[in-house]
Symmetry: C2
Subunit: 139 residues, 2 copies
């Protein structure tokens, strides 16, 4: 396995429209679309950084329920948003997960599951990475 690019960085926010005031209007990025991921109880907004090909994105994550994982993250973070996870893109997610498993790496998702934007994703446990919530993504 050799992750190819930073697929995206996930940022927990209280409100996507409010967050876009900064990321779009102040900073000059463009929101490519908002999507609800019902089983994670979040709305997501992707902002591609178009200066590289293939490009990386920022992902804003707004909880749609108080028991959303993102709501819980913000609760622990003194009610504030902040950087939530980093996603690296791999060519073959099944093979990557099998390799990590064989190396004894603690996984949150043992099998690929559907993420936002039609990607297949899996999370690695922060205990395995020195405190980083790491996602692997295949598009």
């Amino acid at each position: 396995m050799k992750p190819a690019i930073i697929d995206h960085i996930g940022i927990a926010v209280k409100s996507i429209p409010e967050a876009l005031e900064f990321w779009e209007k102040t900073l000059g990025l463009e929101c490519a679309g908002v999507e609800e991921v019902a089983d994670q109880k979040v709305k997501t907004a992707f902002l591609p950084l178009k200066g590289s090909a293939p490009c990386s994105e920022l992902e804003l994550l707004e909880p749609t329920s108080d028991d959303s994982p993102i709501a819980k993250f913000m609760e622990k973070n003194n009610g504030r948003g902040g950087m939530h996870h980093v996603a690296l893109r791999v060519d073959d997610l099944e093979a990557a997960l099998a390799e990590l498993k064989s190396k004894g790496v603690r996984l949150i998702d043992e099998k690929p599951r559907k993420g936002a934007g039609g990607a297949m994703i899996a999370f690695i446990h922060p205990a395995a990475t020195g405190g980083v919530l790491l996602e692997l993504s295949q598009r």
Copy 2:
């Protein structure tokens, strides 16, 4: 201003050699070099994600002193490492800072200063970004 790419993601770690066990040996990335940034009291290691051009990097940050900003970050984070900042690359950092200042954005660095790898950098205050420590970088 229109940031072009994710320049890098900064990850606080207790020990770069220990962290490389995961990021290099387990995950398959390659460390492009280790550099000490004396005035920030850190050692940094850059791991380029070579699947895009220009490419983004992971930056591991190991404190070299107990009063390093990275040591303080880990202290607040229950002694653990984790995602510390995200850096977006801009073409003209002086112009970007002037634009942000005119928009009333709270800056940590009002002027560009030297970062690792010969980049000129400046940090924006997390209060302005919804809790993200954001760096702008010009190379």
